[in-house]
């Protein structure tokens, strides 16, 4: 067995994510748009915005992952590509993971890298901490994409599966959201939180591909 099918799946997904010329701009616009609505909704009080800012970015990341994941396996199931990937002989879990990572690279990671700017808009002090936070957002969003991928694979053959993905993924997003927000709170107990965040992301990377593989075999059946 070689890694060639896995690399090819990765490459195809990257191409797919960037198709239409928008690429990462679309999710970026989504994140920006969703985040900018918040001050309009809750007012422009500096202290309030400073307090809710990190959390808003987590929520926006979770939403962005759900929005981008809706089609990743569904389109494969519809156009017959899934049948081909299942017959390459490579582990389906590895192919599913490759596709998920490709979509994370084109939607999750750019959002995380963009987060310091948003944090500044939410009145955070400019400091190197914002870059650390960007790393935490990147780490956490990877878990979002993997768990969301499970929902996406399970609802690959369901029409209007987007709502279903959200319902399935929501409880699975909880640990990441909690550890992530905790790591940025600076309060008591926040010291260990980045480690917990990393551990829960690792857990997602280890478990989700197998669930995705089982779900994709089902989608093709």
């Amino acid at each position: 067995m070689s890694a060639a099918p896995i690399l090819a799946a990765f490459r195809q997904s990257l191409g797919e994510a960037w198709a239409g010329g928008a690429g990462a701009l679309l999710p970026l616009g989504f994140l920006g748009g969703a985040a900018v609505l918040v001050p309009l909704g809750i007012g422009s009080d500096v202290e309030t915005l400073k307090a809710v800012g990190p959390g808003i970015i987590w929520v926006a990341l979770a939403l962005a992952s759900l929005v981008t994941l809706e089609r990743i396996f569904q389109s494969d199931a519809e156009d017959g590509t899934l049948d081909l990937w299942l017959q390459t002989g490579a582990p389906v879990s590895a192919i599913a993971a490759a596709k998920t990572i490709a979509h994370w690279l084109s939607a999750g990671l750019p959002l995380a890298l963009f987060s310091p700017l948003l944090a500044l808009m939410f009145q955070a002090e400019a400091s190197p901490d914002l870059l650390v936070n960007a790393g935490l957002y990147a780490l956490g969003s990877l878990a979002f994409f993997f768990w969301g991928g499970v929902g996406a694979a399970l609802s690959a053959t369901v029409r209007r599966g987007g709502l279903l993905i959200s319902l399935i993924a929501l409880p699975l997003y909880v640990p990441t959201a909690i550890f992530g927000a905790l790591a940025m709170s600076g309060g008591p107990g926040s010291a260990g939180a980045p480690l917990f965040l990393a551990a829960s992301t690792l857990f997602a990377c280890a478990v989700a591909p197998y669930a995705m593989a089982a779900a994709l075999r089902l989608a093709a059946d």
Partner: protein, 178 residues
């Protein structure tokens, strides 16, 4: 094999040898596609098993071509995925896809998409071809091309299992009516 509450077929055994061409026949909904998918390992049979002694190619009724993918990109991708190292240009020429080679899938005609899917058969030499309605959407030229490909494949000792609804343009070595 059970689909929903319907038993499609039971106790079928399918075996092909080198040079064989097996035609699957049956009315719409009889289970031709399902049997092919079972043979390809995509669908799990309720009972029984499939023993595959050789690698196979799969061309289903969905082409597997992405809307943003051009035929050339499609063939490159699968050459890479299968590690076959085949040249794509001769294949494109053989399939009559030179002109639309760089047109994205969403702008191709149904026949051109089908030709692209069939082109995968030439990327790597695999003994068994599983074809689901290979003539769909093809013009007379295209049908002739399919017949030629199958003839060449069988001459080289390959086997074909195809679900075909109408007339087949080649002499089958066996029929299986579902």
């Amino acid at each position: 094999m059970i689909r929903g509450e319907r038993v499609l077929f039971r106790e079928i055994s399918v075996a092909v040898r080198a040079g064989d061409a097996l035609l699957l026949r049956g009315a719409n909904g009889a289970g031709k596609t399902t049997l092919l998918r079972v043979l390809a390992g995509l669908t799990r049979p309720e009972a029984g098993r499939v023993t595959r002694a050789a690698a196979h190619h799969w061309v289903g009724h969905r082409e597997g071509l992405k809307p943003q993918e051009t035929p050339r990109e499609h063939l490159k991708l699968w050459t890479q995925a299968w590690g076959s190292g085949a040249e794509t240009d001769p294949v494109l020429t053989r399939m009559g896809l030179t002109r639309p080679a760089d047109v994205a899938g969403r702008y191709l005609s149904a026949g051109q998409r089908r030709r692209t899917a069939l082109a995968r058969l030439l990327l790597e030499d695999r003994p068994v071809w599983l074809l689901d309605e290979p003539y769909t959407a093809l013009d007379a030229d295209g049908r002739k091309l399919v017949d030629d490909l199958i003839a060449a494949h069988r001459a080289m000792g390959g086997a074909v299992i195809a679900a075909i609804h109408g007339e087949a343009g080649f002499a089958a070595s066996g029929d299986l009516t579902l």
